[in-house]
Assembly symmetry: C2
């Protein structure tokens, strides 16, 4: 017998019942809120063709894909070739997010979908990232997206929905940083940063809140090849780093003075104004922070972009934006689209750290004990009766243990009530019910057990 490691694979996790049950409850709550906004469920396969996934997330994303081996003869042929690459020996990949699968689905079923497709999907995604605090290789995302409309009502809807989720979970202090890809384009144009350098510059300025002004200036000059003059124009244009108490409308007005004459600038600032105005009385309103430094890494965004941050959060706990051209990569027709993705695993980490979980409700209501082999059928009968009355009932799965062990088992599983059915009870037509919290025991007439449980549980 070889000893095999029994840990889950690196960066992945097992969830024992208490934690699994809690996750289920949180997923249900997210689902309920998303449905209350009129979003509908979509299910897609965990695997996608590699051709579907590659080239959508940028070079770094392609590297993080878990790739699946070709099978049988196809694998044999590929591996026998000279210097086969990953793409030669693999044909599928585990999905990296829920947005690209949605884009594929819209392209495939465009004629079967309503004019606007509002879908949610709560499902795992996989990234071969270096595991660290709150970052896993298999993790759930909770996405809402609306396909088919260019109206900022869409941005308002998805921001409101995720804000309501966070509030229902007990978060009050999150910030939704918002920016606009076209505003960034206008700013680059205004200060004269050539197109081929823009991506690098965006990556650098996006880090300003973490590494500080001096380091960003150094990086821009030395790594991105931006002249000191341009940097001295760019940073004042971006302005002070915004925080929760920044006046968003003032930021927009100031930027309008700077880039409002450029087509991209005007359009972007109009969009941001619309989002703030439409959301003014909604659940997201107090959380918006217009942030010209926000860039978002993913290549596919084209309009407004969002990222949720907060004090003590391990990085962002949600992000999204408009991606009007992604679906067009799969089909000839253009489909505007915008969505928001909540990173549930990080949210759960924060909730755990802050002690935000409610007390766990019991997962099983009653344990029916077993006196001995002969009386096992009596216990099975009682368990059935109680199940039929709507209770969650565990039957002790052995006929050779004393009551002490059976109580210990109920205690270990946090089962609140134990039902005893010894010869005395069977003969007398009663059941002895033990309240595990108080330790009280009571002999109850068989016909009144259901009533007793309804009162006690």
């Amino acid at each position: 017998m070889t000893q095999i490691s029994t840990k889950p694979p690196s960066g992945m996790r097992d969830f024992l019942p208490e934690e699994a049950a809690r996750r289920k409850r949180i997923f249900s709550l997210v689902e309920e809120v998303y449905e209350s906004y009129g979003f509908e469920p979509l299910e897609t396969p965990s695997l996608e063709r590699l051709t579907t996934l590659l080239g959508k997330y940028g070079e770094e994303g392609d590297k993080l894909l878990f790739k699946v081996l070709k099978r049988g003869e196809k694998f044999e042929r590929a591996i026998a070739a000279d210097n086969p690459t990953e793409q030669d020996v693999a044909d599928h990949g585990l999905r990296y997010d829920l947005t690209v699968p949605l884009a594929r689905v819209v392209a495939q079923y465009q004629h079967d979908l309503p004019r606007f497709f509002k879908r949610y999907q709560i499902a795992p995604v996989w990234r071969a990232d270096r595991p660290q605090h709150g970052r896993y290789r298999e993790f759930y995302q909770c996405d809402v997206d609306i396909v088919g409309s260019r109206s900022m009502a869409v941005e308002n809807d998805v921001c409101a929905a995720v804000s309501e989720v966070l509030q229902r979970l007990g978060f009050g202090d999150f910030r939704i940083h918002i920016n606009h890809r076209r505003l960034l384009a206008a700013i680059m144009q205004k200060v004269g940063i050539p197109e081929e350098k823009q991506d690098g510059v965006l990556i650098s300025i996006d880090k300003l809140d973490k590494v500080g002004r001096n380091e960003v200036m150094e990086e821009l000059e030395q790594e991105r090849g931006i002249s000191r003059d341009v940097i001295d124009e760019l940073l004042p244009l971006l302005g002070a780093l915004p925080g929760a108490d920044t006046d968003n409308m003032a930021t927009i007005e100031r930027l309008r003075g700077e880039v409002g004459e450029l087509e991209d600038g005007a359009a972007a600032l109009d969009d941001l104004t619309d989002i703030l105005t439409l959301g003014a009385d909604g659940p997201a309103s107090d959380h918006f922070v217009v942030d010209p430094y926000l860039a978002r890494g993913l290549a596919y965004y084209t309009g407004p972009i969002f990222e949720i941050r907060g004090e003590g959060f391990p990085g962002s706990i949600g992000a999204g934006g408009r991606y009007d051209e992604l679906i067009g990569m799969f089909t000839k027709q253009d489909f505007p689209a915008c969505g928001f993705s909540l990173g549930l695993e990080r949210i759960l980490v924060v909730m755990e750290e802050r002690g935000m979980f409610d007390e766990e409700p019991a997962r099983t209501d009653v344990l029916v004990t077993v006196w001995n082999t002969e009386f096992m059928p009596k216990s099975i009968e009682l368990a059935k009766e109680l199940r039929d009355a709507g209770f969650r009932v565990d039957l002790y799965p052995s006929d050779t243990d004393r009551y002490g062990k059976q109580f210990g088992y109920a205690d270990r599983r946090d089962i609140p009530v134990v039902a005893l059915l010894a010869p005395d009870e069977v003969e007398g037509g009663t059941v002895t019910l033990k309240d595990m919290k108080s330790g009280d025991q009571e002999s109850v007439n068989r016909t009144e057990v259901v009533e007793w449980l309804k009162k006690t549980l």
Copy 2:
């Protein structure tokens, strides 16, 4: 722009909202029944180490694993070697079932688990099988297992739980074929089939209900190398093929006469008797069929084995059994265990074919229409009000469409009520509500909209 296939990968499926919602409902029902039997949820990663998976399912199973490429340098090194194999270039695999992950979990967390571990898991598994009717490469299994007890109360519990699921789904006509690995061993011993030929013989006799007696006899003689004399002893010993109306106790008595003097035979027949006796008044009782031909392919079974069949089912729709030695492959300690797995995808195929689904409930209650850009905030406000009152509300995500289009959208999405908020309504403090089924429209005071909806929906 290269045109990429937008179909899901071969043997895998997308589920659009109507179907996805239906699947969610069915999963919930299974979950509810499993919890009513005291089973608790467990979550494990989709990926396992290849070493965890290999060698558990037999040679055929190993071939059907989806294997995941090593990454970065590890891949480079592996691919650069001479004649690398699948195991050289891959380090993980997608789980093939939910039983092996459970065994790994029990080995890993044995000291954190209760004395008996009753878990359910409803999750996808992956097999690179040839896709065919009702057989997919990614499909959900719904498993219940009890770890830690040798009592047949366990077999009774898991059989009762899956039977209740099937009954709640509307199935009345399924059969749970039961047999016992040790009974098969005793039969092999009795007629003198040497150990190395037993697996092949079991595969052949398991097919008798599909291919008939003559073909099995030919296969046994020509492919399995069994002499005519032995075959002429074996088949009468197995007896007539059992069906729904077979007398199970008579079958057991007859077999007791044949192999009851062998240790394996006696123990197996006692177990089968216990299962039938304990289950006599439970949900599985009318469905048991003692079937000495049943073999089950998976290598890890050691005791009673089950398979659910029925007229018109595409193969079995559920299977299980006792595997007292599987967990021992991961840890030094022995853990008896037994479980049952429902093949939900096949069940859904049969339900679809038989029209067993209830009418779909609405997924969204109300569509709030949008008169124009100026009035959009009014519509957002109404949508929020109705959501706060507990309704699932879609806001029309565009401000440029006429009512006709908006009604069409509601109709396409089967939203039962549409709320109109044109200038007249806003001015008069009313909302016009249209019942999409009857086509009736009614002007309702803004303060009475919630009441109206409660009555109508």
